[in-house]
């Protein structure tokens, strides 16, 4: 049985509050990637350091330093959103956001995973999925909206 890492508790940093839990985050994204892509290793562009740390530990994710090389771009800041809007990315590149407002800002973004009212929110837009010929399984239907 895999033991809880008490050692983790001992490595507490002074005063640091926010930390993303690696295992559950990866499970969630691995599950999504399996249904978005038909390849074993996904190239992901993400600027956020917390996400970088989490994704770096996955054998199925390769972090890339340039937007043009990514299969999946995570829009985690206004700056990345601006970059994405300025550049001409491949139509195969999938854009995904970590804030609701980015979904409103760009119609190229297929969905978002974000916090609202202290609960994580998963959201996809049907017409944007259709544009990418993406068909998510029934388990996602609760999280797919026709429009914003």
């Amino acid at each position: 049985m895999k033991m809880k890492k008490i050692v983790f508790t001992l490595l507490l940093l002074f005063g640091q509050l926010y930390a993303m839990e690696r295992e559950s985050t990866l499970k969630l994204y691995h599950h999504l990637f399996r249904h978005l892509f038909h390849k074993e290793v996904i190239s992901v562009y993400v600027e956020d350091r917390e996400y970088q740390k989490v994704f770096a530990s996955s054998p199925f994710i390769r972090l890339v330093p340039y937007l043009k090389d990514a299969d999946f771009v995570m829009i985690t800041s206004d700056r990345v959103l601006e970059e994405v809007q300025k550049r001409k990315l491949s139509s195969k590149t999938i854009l995904f956001a970590t804030k609701y407002k980015y979904l409103e800002a760009s119609k190229r973004i297929i969905g978002a995973f974000y916090w609202r009212k202290s609960r994580s929110q998963y959201l996809f837009l049907q017409d944007r999925l259709n544009e990418h010929n993406i068909s998510l399984p029934a388990g996602y239907s609760k999280f797919i909206l026709d429009e914003l």
């Binding site: 049985m1 008490i6 001992l10």
Partner: protein, 622 residues
């Protein structure tokens, strides 16, 4: 009968609304739970944890720390005769009782200096800025405590990483109760910041005292919280202005003609992490109290000659500093540090009345601690802590030398966990009690408390169960009992949380306490229970909860029923209708009274700190 019907309805609704969770929902549920628990603030070695996650606070629609306190075992929520949050208040004439409970915001203690615990003013603060709250039972790890405590409350503010942008909250309640609150947080490249400004005009139920002047505990509070932080530095500022009607105040028979105390508090702190080993923290706090008490008979006061009017202003400052060192050597994780605190009574000016009899104005505390956490195996930890504190006071009052010892064992697997602590701790009388109680002007021995605590928990994907047992015994108790024996306490807490799916959850808590030789009572037993249902159906959130209390003194069953219904009208707008203490049967405690003329005990007043109230709230995020 009403309660059982309501419970049946709730359970029926709950079961009816349960859906078969999909794999995606299970992954999300797991993500939510583990990310709530992965906050790096949670430290297994701080004690026995009762956690209010961000999601739970949101579902409870907890707007103040008081809303949370009402469901916390062992202490729950009480107010004293000055209408201040004082969970350990006995209803007698002590100035403040809850000095054993300490409050921290983002790891920095909020201390009201002369008053002792930060709960006095912040115990019912607005918590719109709060991410989650951790209650640690048993003597805490010495890393965090400048002064001894056996319950520590850690409130952590929201991080712009998760909660960027703003939120406006407008709340209107029955009897004219209203709150307005605005928050904003943002993460920039090099720093992040958050602020929250709130205003509450609390119109509360009056307490009939048999005169034409019923007791009032209305208050008006304006509160500012803000921080700015970088990777390794953080600075907070907090200001609270609270004008209160102070219930019975200094009136011995609880029939004041005027009873008000206005508070103005400032707290600032700064913390810096130099590297992986060294951390320093500084805090300053200032508190001003404007006191106006007037009765037709002599007031409760330690002065030489009786008088019936007090119009005074007090000011005090508290300076705190700490330096902490952490390191790992093989299986040892060592933490050591030095902490200092100085409490100064800056002024006590009396316009009408009499000065305090004790010329006491400074208290200094210097503490040194050492703690080793030894990793026995990947799942087992042994912890040993020792702390020495010297408390020096001016005006020739005795100094105190306090020793704290703590030994603990922790086991944790994916499903089971077990914790046990044995400790010996010492508490000194706080300055406020020393100054305003005529019985404490001389030398007062520190209290020694010995304790043994244990906790066993089991968790699976959908449920978690936990049993917590605490036993404590006092020697030289600061709160003297009337009998010959030393006060002994036993507490047992059972928690069971079950998640039907991501939207439907139930929380159950049972609590039993047995006290021996406490105050004038030889034996006291206290029972309570708490059950809550949280449900989401499409755009609606439901929260229904009952807190039940009973004790061996009056055998009365008290029920505090809370219900809320939220409509998430859009991504940015939520409307909530909430009712608290709907049956008007929440727990009541006695407020003791004495005749100022004869000294005879009068019939105590029975008062609930929880008002029956219905509120309508609008939340708008931007």
């Amino acid at each position: 009968m009403h309660i059982s019907k309501i419970l049946i309805l709730f359970v029926g609704f709950l079961l009816g609304s349960v859906l078969q969770a999909s794999e995606v929902e299970r992954l999300l549920s797991d993500y939510n739970y583990k990310n709530d628990l992965s906050q790096k603030t949670i430290d297994e070695n701080k004690g026995h944890l009762v956690l209010y996650t961000r999601e739970k606070l949101e579902r409870m629609h907890a707007k103040t720390l008081k809303d949370v306190f009402m469901t916390t075992p062992v202490i729950y929520y009480h107010e004293n005769r000055y209408a201040l949050p004082d969970p350990l208040a006995s209803g007698a004439f002590e100035p403040y009782r809850s000095n054993f409970v300490r409050l921290y915001i983002d790891g920095v203690e909020i201390t009201q200096g002369w008053m002792g615990s930060g709960l006095a003013l912040y115990g019912d603060m607005n918590i719109d800025f709060v991410d989650h709250i951790e209650f640690y039972y048993a003597v805490p790890s010495f890393e965090t405590s400048v002064e001894p405590a056996y319950l520590t409350i850690f409130v952590y503010s929201k991080d712009p990483k998760r909660d960027s942008g703003g939120k406006l909250t407008l709340l209107q309640g029955s009897r004219g109760y209203s709150t307005q609150s605005i928050s904003y947080g943002e993460e920039r490249e090099a720093y992040s910041y958050r602020y929250n400004l709130s205003h509450t005009d609390a119109k509360r139920t009056k307490i009939d005292n048999g005169t034409d002047h019923p007791l009032s505990r209305d208050f008006e509070r304006t509160q500012l919280f803000g921080y700015i932080k970088t990777e390794n530095q953080i600075a907070h500022v907090q200001v609270m202005k609270k004008n209160t009607d102070s219930l019975a105040g200094l009136s011995l028979d609880a029939t004041p003609l005027v009873s008000t105390v206005d508070y103005l508090n400032l707290h600032i702190d700064y913390g810096i992490t130099f590297n992986a080993h060294w951390h320093a923290q500084f805090a300053y706090e200032w508190l001003k109290r404007d006191i106006l008490q007037f009765d037709d008979l002599p007031l409760l006061y330690p002065g030489e000659s009786p008088f019936n009017r007090l119009d005074a202003v007090t000011k005090n400052s508290t300076y705190s500093a700490e330096l902490t060192y952490k390191n790992r050597r093989g299986r040892h994780h060592i933490v050591a540090g030095l902490k200092g605190r100085k409490k100064i009574l800056d002024g006590f000016s009396v316009k009408v009345g009499e000065r305090l009899p004790l010329d006491f104005s400074q208290e200094s505390i210097l503490s040194a601690f050492f703690q080793d956490q030894y990793v026995l195996s990947e799942a087992e930890l042994l912890t040993l802590g020792i702390e020495y504190s010297n408390i020096y006071r001016d005006a020739g009052i005795n100094s105190d030398n306090l020793w704290q010892l703590r030994l603990g064992y922790i086991f944790a697997s994916d499903t089971w966990s077990y914790k046990a602590y044995i400790y010996r701790t010492m508490f000194a009388l706080d300055p406020f009690n020393r100054q305003v109680s005529r019985y404490n002007t001389g030398s007062v021995s520190p209290q020694t408390t010995r304790g043994l605590t244990q906790e066993l928990s089991y968790m699976q994907d959908s449920y978690r169960a936990r049993v917590m047992l605490l036993f404590m015994k006092d020697e030289d108790g600061l709160v003297q009992n009337m009998g010959e024996g030393e006060t002994q306490y036993f507490f047992g807490v059972f928690n069971y949380d079950y998640a039907f799916d991501i939207d439907n959850k139930i929380n159950l808590q049972l609590y039993y306490a047995r006290y021996k030789d406490i105050g004038p009572i030889d034996k006291l037993e206290d029972y309570s229970g708490y059950v809550s249902f949280s449900n989401t159906y499409e755009k609606f959130d439901f929260y229904n909860a009952v807190v039940w209390h009973q004790n061996s003194i009056d055998h009365t069953h008290y029920f505090d029923v809370t219900s809320s219904l939220s409509w998430n009208a859009s991504e940015n707008l939520t409307l909530t209708l909430k009712g608290q203490n709907l049956l008007d049967r929440a727990k009541e405690t006695s407020l003791f009274r004495v005749s100022p003329t004869t000294g005879d005990l009068l019939q105590p007043l029975s008062i609930s700190p929880v008002d029956r109230r219905v509120t309508l709230e609008m939340e708008y995020t931007f």
